[in-house]
């Protein structure tokens, strides 16, 4: 069972959800052509599907719409937070849930990339620190983070040849957008995979490496693939979350800790 923000406080008293799902997004250009709120659209759909599919009773939070998109600063439509700000948002939201009895919190840290893993994210890197500190500083809290494209990386790369080379407006992301917004026009940017390691996004702006704002092969996208991407990333994210909480329970119980 899933509660949302359309339920009342008394519904929360009755149901006492066990797990909260907090999706994060970024508000940033998706080339010149596609919505600046693409990540919010994607994370709203993934967040809801994941929260519905988890075994536990869940609380689906609204998508937090702004991330650390400083590498797109100054481009029309970029709204970016400093890393300390996003850290404090995640900290406050998770802590307020914990204080009110929801101790297992899943931060869906934007969609990520099949290039990334469940160990090292791409984008919003500070969320890893935020999650660590929440767990170290608050006994009894169980906060985890995951990026859905990273959770589904192996299956995504069977579906899209360039999946593990893509970061932004590639075939994986664009296919998903086509699936979620079938009425929109999805023509525009050329394929572009920069010849540098993505680590360089920490040293210079996105446009330096990709003048058209693309890091991937959008020409390989299709609406049919989008339906498959959705299924893969939701299933694999749910599987990762469930396994992570199970392992965490074993570790904490073995140590005689409170779970």
């Amino acid at each position: 069972m899933m509660l949302t923000v359309n339920h009342s406080a008394w519904d929360f008293k009755d149901v006492k959800p066990e797990v909260a799902v907090l999706p994060l997004a970024c508000f940033e250009p998706h080339s010149n052509y596609f919505p600046v709120g693409s990540d919010q659209i994607i994370m709203s759909a993934i967040g809801e599907a994941v929260a519905q599919k988890l075994e536990e009773t869940t609380f689906l939070l609204p998508v937090w719409p702004f991330g650390t998109s400083g590498h797109h600063a100054g481009q029309p439509g970029t709204v970016h937070l400093r890393y300390e700000t996003l850290w404090h948002v995640v900290r406050d939201v998770a802590f307020s849930l914990h204080e009110r009895g929801i101790h297992k919190i899943v931060v869906l840290n934007n969609h990520g990339s099949a290039m990334a893993t469940t160990t090292k994210p791409i984008g919003n890197f500070v969320v890893k620190t935020a999650v660590r500190q929440l767990n170290y500083e608050n006994p009894g809290i169980r906060t985890i983070w995951v990026q859905p494209f990273a959770a589904g990386r192996d299956k995504l790369s069977e579906l899209v040849a360039s999946a593990k080379e893509e970061i932004h407006v590639g075939a994986v992301e664009l296919s998903l957008l086509m699936h979620l917004l079938p009425e929109n026009e999805w023509e525009g940017p050329q394929d572009h995979i920069p010849d540098v390691d993505p680590t360089y996004l920490e040293f210079g702006p996105f446009r330096k490496y990709s003048p058209n704002g693309v890091w991937g092969n959008p020409s390989d996208a299709s609406r049919a693939k989008g339906a498959d991407v959705m299924k893969i990333v939701v299933d694999e994210t749910v599987r990762y979350i469930q396994e992570t909480f199970d392992h965490l329970k074993e570790i904490k119980e073995d140590r005689g800790g409170e779970y």
């Binding site: 339920h7 406080a9 609204p62 970029t78 948002v89 204080e99």
Partner: protein, 236 residues
Amino acid sequence: MLDKFSSSGDLRNNSPDIAVLGVGAIEQHGRHLPIATDWTQVKEISRRVAEELGALLLPAIPFSMSECHGLMPGTVYLKPETLSRVIKDIAASLREQGIKNLLILNGHGGNFILEPTIKSLNRRYPQFSVLMPAEVWAPVEDSPTIYETAGKGIHAEEMETSMQLYLNPDYVKDDRMDFVPNVGREFLDYAVMEEINPEGIWGLPSYGQTDKGERGIKAQVQSVLKFVEEALEVLK
């Protein structure tokens, strides 16, 4: 209007001179209203205002200063410093792309950090204006003609119940527990809602009606538009 569905190219071609940011809250609203009440209302009002202004509508912030409800479930908050940082970062992002004005519409009465944040931004960046109506939820002229209990409630009361009946009717329940505390609003500086009224209500929700919500939303939009017109004129 430009919004999250617009592209970077749309924004470049239309160069909006004002962005609209709603600040919502996720917090207990008694037995009968959704915890998203403030967020739902401010999203609707922000969208209508942005349409009239041809503005860039930013996604409304869902969470804000809701610690005032104590430990009641369904409440998710940001600390005041966090909300202030968020506003400052959004303002900086808009300045970087050449947008000249930010209109903030505050959907939650407890966000007292917004005013000092805005004042500090306006002093520091004279070429960039951050505007916020003094009382988003009180269109002073129309309020008493719309709401029978105007002035008696501040939370989950006649006005919010009416607006939810209009905007979100499937999620409004029947058990509306009227309660008007015999203390001033400043008591929320000294105690939390849970202590003042464990039912989480301050006002008279039993007076809520759909048509009052519809008229109330329209009046809010008009009062905000009037404020923006005056403020931009004064600041010119």
